[in-house]
């Protein structure tokens, strides 16, 4: 997709979010709820399965465009499973050659103790899926689970499970599903391609999706802080006139730019298959670091009012805090980077850092 078409698409997405996911609307959303109306509009626009191939019901768009859309979604704090549907469930279903159901989708990697067993022609699934994003609102949870050492994709209907609701710091649904001998019909379980590195791919895509949402939220926090500093007056002048505030905003803007570039470059690495592991580890680590700095400084700039429920800032900062610890935090991803680096000759490591 060329950049003009991408810009036009982003304009449409932003307009839809301005209309249906305004700060007031987001603030009014009860904890655990979702934005069904926005989802329908995004589906109509054609972005919910943007990077999925057309013959599987997607829009056949490229990853960088999908990335830009996710960043926009994140900046509006939109209560929809955009990343889960586009990057995870849609991807899993398309690599299995399965038609993708309509509606909001989510996905999960089964824990080691989850059991998929055969029952005649069908299957049964037992175990617990913890903190699955948006599960209670989704028609399908796409689960990656092993059967006899082979990865399978199983489509689970949350209604067939016992749903233990949960939320993250921003009130987004993170539901734990208890499965007790849940029947799975033959058409809802398929082998995943062997040697597909599905688990690693899932973790990376989940982390990248989260980092892209964080990038949008980071941009929003910088924007809110810049505006507030220009408007709020103390000592007879706007906060923006004080060097301490100027330095904070510059610091925030720098981190937001770093995150923007890191997530864009990681998206390209995933699309091109050029060392996406290192790229996404770097991007999610950068996201955590940026989120911590930006959220803290945004609250400093906004003063006491920014810490209230009345003000919009918390819609963005609670997401930065929540997403920072989802799909692997800085410690997890940076440790992986470091461990890998120490097994790599320094000359080779240098070449990898340059994103060939």
């Amino acid at each position: 997709m060329n950049t003009d078409a991408t810009r036009d698409l982003l304009d449409v997405v932003h307009a839809a979010c301005d209309d249906l996911s305004s700060p007031e609307a987001v603030a009014r959303t009860p904890a655990g709820d979702w934005n069904a109306e926005l989802w329908k509009t995004l589906q109509d626009i054609g972005i919910t399965l943007l990077p999925v191939a057309e013959n599987f019901g997607g829009a056949g768009g490229d990853l960088p465009t999908a990335a830009a859309v996710l960043r926009a979604i994140g900046s509006h704090a939109a209560a929809v499973p955009a990343a889960e549907t586009a990057l995870l469930a849609g991807w899993l279903l398309s690599i299995c050659g399965t038609d993708i159901p309509s509606g909001p989708l989510t996905a999960a990697l089964a824990p080691p103790d989850m059991v998929l067993s055969r029952t005649g022609r069908g299957w049964e699934l037992d175990g617990v899926l913890r903190r699955v994003p948006w599960a209670r609102h989704c028609s399908v949870v796409a689960v990656v689970v092993q059967h006899e050492m082979v990865d399978h994709l199983v489509l689970v209907d949350p209604a067939a499970t016992v749903v233990e609701t949960g939320v993250n710091l921003a009130g987004e649904p993170r539901d734990t599903l208890h499965l007790t001998s849940v029947p799975i019909s033959p058409d809802r379980a398929r082998r995943l391609p062997e040697h597909g590195e599905v688990e690693a791919g899932f973790r990376r895509r989940a982390a990248l999706g989260r980092a892209l949402l964080m990038s949008g939220a980071a941009d929003r926090a910088v924007d809110l802080s810049t505006r507030y500093a220009g408007q709020r007056e103390q000592f007879g002048r706007p906060l923006a006139k004080f060097q301490a505030i100027q330095q904070h905003i510059a610091h925030m803007a720098g981190e937001a730019l770093a995150l923007h570039v890191a997530t864009d470059a990681a998206t390209v690495a995933l699309a091109e298959g050029s060392n996406p592991g290192m790229a996404i580890a770097a991007a999610k680590t950068t996201a955590g670091h940026a989120a911590s700095t930006i959220a803290a400084l945004a609250h400093q700039v906004h003063g006491a009012i920014g810490f209230t429920s009345e003000h919009d800032l918390h819609l963005t900062t609670t997401r930065l805090w929540a997403w920072r610890d989802e799909d692997g935090n800085e410690h997890e991803w940076a440790s992986q980077l470091g461990e890998q680096a120490l097994r790599t000759p320094p000359d080779q490591l240098w070449a990898q850092l340059l994103r060939p």
Binding site: I249, A265, E330, G338, L349, L353, R355
Partner: protein, 386 residues
């Protein structure tokens, strides 16, 4: 608010080949014993012969038009690729550094055809070296307040004043000097400044060493007493000095040397950690460094791509320099913490003396070429909060 923007840039096969050639060159130089890797080598590693060998390969003046240099891949991205390889290896690139990075490009942009012909080929060959004449004892961050005065005389100008922090001025051939040609106006502090191409062998120029806290000499104070500069050596327009110097500053701030000054230390440490399989190695701390480095290199490429596209990403360059120089310090502190060694500049072991060198020079990283506080002020202004 005007958004900051940098597009991610993919490398090309051509750049990959270029990097390979530079790596081969570096390996051969090291095997011949021509240099020992050092931190901060772009400031401390003065080696005219090394510079000439780079010039012979076509790896200097890469942003100059072909007629002024030896044929090779050109443009900012290519130059960044070459300099990244050299800096990561801690190669002695100081002699040609200023000329290649900013003086040559300034002459290219503002110089007469005669000046371009007179200077650019020598810079590209690596045998014509420049120093910077900007800061003064009373003018550091506030560059517009410089007092070095150029008075018009027959056939040229008479220069009086003092410049400081001129790296390599005791060894360089020429200096671009920022001087006042009209009195300071309170309503327009930037007006009345002019840049001069000054031959450092001119009578009336005295170069005095500035010694750093460890006694090292790279920087100098340069005193001009009635030093004559001919009209043919005014760079650009009389009175246009501020506009010209800010363009030069963008080049000074945008490069990979603002990220990689301490990389040789990191490389040495990683090698040491692998060889000793130390149990105190902290994967998280190392990975944190690598995540930031990966991101900064991506940002730096984006800046280079914008330069190649004829744009002037001054504010984005300021971000990269701000984050990059802080990263350089984080490398030093992380290695220090994990290596459990006592820095000693006289020790023959690479890691120990490199760490000493790095710790001592670290304060300068966030001061030189624009303090981080000034850089953040530039960013804040762009964000509309200043």
């Amino acid at each position: 608010m005007t958004a900051l923007s940098l597009d991610a840039v993919s490398s090309t096969a051509e750049l990959g080949r270029l990097r390979g050639q530079v790596r081969d060159f570096i390996a051969a130089e090291r095997n011949s014993g021509h240099f020992t890797p050092a931190v901060n080598s772009w400031q401390t590693g003065w080696d005219p012969e090394f510079s000439r060998r780079l010039g012979a390969r076509g790896w200097l003046g890469m942003t100059f038009p072909e007629r002024y240099r030896r044929s090779a891949p050109d443009g900012a991205l290519a130059r960044f690729a070459v300099t990244e390889e050299l800096l990561a290896a801690g190669a002695p690139v100081a002699a040609h550094w200023v000329a290649d990075r900013q003086s040559g490009p300034a002459i290219l942009r503002f110089g007469t055809d005669e000046q371009k012909a007179a200077f650019l080929p020598g810079i590209a060959r690596g045998d014509l070296f420049f120093a910077i004449g900007m800061s003064e004892p009373d003018s550091g961050s506030d560059l517009a307040s410089v007092r070095t005065r150029a008075l018009p005389v027959a056939g040229g100008w008479r220069l009086n004043g003092t410049k400081v922090w001129s790296s390599g001025a005791h060894l360089a051939h020429w200096m671009i000097v920022l001087a006042r040609t009209s009195p300071l106006r309170r309503d327009d502090r930037h007006a009345g400044l002019t840049q001069f191409l000054v031959d450092l062998t001119t009578p009336g120029i005295e170069v005095r060493p500035i010694r750093l806290l460890n006694g090292e000499h790279h920087f100098n104070e340069v005193v001009f007493t009635d030093a004559f500069v001919p009209d043919t050596r005014v760079l650009g327009e009389v009175g246009d000095g501020w506009h010209q110097v800010t363009g030069e500053l963008a080049l000074e701030r945008s490069g990979p040397e603002r990220i990689l000054s301490s990389y040789p230390l990191l490389a040495a440490f990683l090698l040491h950690a692998q060889r000793t399989s130390s149990s105190t190695v902290d994967f998280y701390a190392i990975g944190t460094l690598l995540a930031r480095l990966w991101t900064l290199l991506a940002m730096s490429s984006s800046v280079a791509a914008q330069l190649d596209a004829g744009r002037s990403p001054d504010v984005e360059a300021a971000v990269v320099k701000d984050l990059g120089t802080r990263f350089e310090g984080l490398v030093i502190d992380t290695v220090r913490q994990l290596a459990h060694i006592e820095p000693d500049p006289t020790n023959t072991e690479t890691l120990i003396n490199m760490l000493a060198e790095a710790v001592i020079h670290l304060p300068s990283f966030t001061l030189r070429g624009g303090t981080n506080e000034i850089l953040r002020g530039i960013i804040a202004k762009h964000m509309g909060v200043r």
